[in-house]
Amino acid sequence: MSTIGNAFAPVRDAFDSIGDAFHRMNQWQKYSFYAIVIIALYLAPFWTDIPVIGPIVDTPGTQFSTVLNDQVIIFVLVALGLNVVVGLAGLLDLGYVGFYAVGAYVTAILTSAHGNLPWLLSLPIAVVVSMLFGVILGAPTLRLRGDYLAIVTLGFGEIIRLTAKNMDWLGASRGISNIKKPPSIFGLKFGVIDPKPYYYLGLTLVLIVVFVLHRIEYSRVGRAWVAIREDEDAAELMGVHTFKFKLWAFTIGAAVGGLAGVHYAGKVGFINPDNFPLQLSILFLAAVVLGGSGNMYGAILGGVLVAYVPERLRNFADKRVFVFGVVLVLMMVFRPEGILPKRVGDEHKKRQRSSQNEEVAQ
């Protein structure tokens, strides 16, 4: 195979050995492992204080924990949601930023522009409204396939942005300011200076989303999604109500995208239509495809990379769409399955499948 494809082999092997080691652990060891990883993640804002590692991970120009929350958490959340739509169900959604915008705008409307609700109460409402938008967009379009769906969703993202830009009720190009902050809890104060509380909150949201999506993925619903992605006609002929499950994929994806928008709005306190450009949709998609479409952990990795790398490498941020465009093209050529693709069944145990592959090729 290709050399560039093989360049990812060390990454993959590293994750594989973690995976293999993980499979050998007993229950108690597994829980301890989870606990350690989660604690390490909650301590991420302090990674910069670690000798040697600190200077390597630190982001020049921007505070590390700001990058963690404003970039990494947002991209990881969005990648998790978009992975359901694109990675699992195989539906190409080019307008995912629309749901992110809906989440942010609903919070902005309810807590500032046209209401006085607390942020926390706006969260479930915004998620439900995002899901409704998922249904509104999905119901007529999910009967379309492939290219058509991509074009319609692309239009959706733009329609949301342009509607916000042109409606006074939505603040038009001025946007909406004074969006309420999350409530103080456990002595964490959600202010304007310290980004750490937002990061803790965001990480908590990510963990909840991972938990929920994991349960859905390993159920009848997740199987239906993958079956649809693999062969929609065959799936339907095996009794899968394809339309219903595609709509669910859209709706759940929309919920997670909306949630990311709520978190974003709560942090920045001010949004306007320019925060939701088409190119964000592209970057979101890049995160999923780069990391490993169809694998939740791949999507997370992709989200981290697309969000973090441009901040780590100075002067890269404004070129990131271009650079990730090139990276994506290369990936499509040399490693279309992404850096960390999903391994099916026994593959993580026995990696020597070449002899069997030959049998199939007969």
């Binding site: 009848r220 619903v221 997740g222 079956a227 062969d231 065959a234 593959e347």
Partner: protein, 258 residues
Amino acid sequence: MSEILLDFNNVTMQFGGVTALSEVTLQISRGEILGLIGPNGAGKTTCFNVMTGVYAPTIGSVTFNGQSLAGLKRFEITKAGIARTFQNIRLFSEMTAVENVMVGADARKKSSVGGAILRTPRQRREENESRERSMELLKFMGIADRAHNAARNLPYGYQRRLEIARALATEPQLLCLDEPAAGFNPAEKQELNELILKIRAQGYTVLLIEHDMNVVMKVSDRVAVLDFGKKIADGLPDQVRSNPDVIAAYLGVDDNAS
């Protein structure tokens, strides 16, 4: 004859100018193995496609268990009790063998997103049922040793059998097999015939498309023959074998010497 399970009534199926089926009438009785044979392009697969809702017939109707299939969606037809395999293997290649079968088993299940998130007792029960039933079917088909391999990594013979297991998992009354022995050697064909007989013994009705006359004659209770979209014979294997129209159809066409 006994109860009619599927009634294929005067079906014509046209694709633009091509008439794939022309006024075909065909009945399948509950519990029988009906062999459907015919030269290449005779319209056998098209019969399956009409029965399973892939295409709506241009003229005519299909009745299953006394219920018209007109207007039913494909997955509704599956739930009504017709399952099929594909001539060109169409597995969910990125899923494991057992997951492939579970997709079929899931057709009879109800729990959805809410159940999955909350892991409700019903969801857990259904999940276990699907998994256990699917493993049983893999064992029945003799491919359980590869249950956790990706479908794309399975040997060809396993893939063919997996298709049958997946179809059986939907709990059909009528199982339609589209050339399940294609590409098999005589020993494998023999094994498959035995499996088909076992399947029927469990109470399934089987509609079997097969190219190889000899194979189909051995297992079928009854054989129907299509040629250029028309049914030219329908009867007991021995009658069909000696039918002059059938002999002409098979001699007239350069059939693959399998």
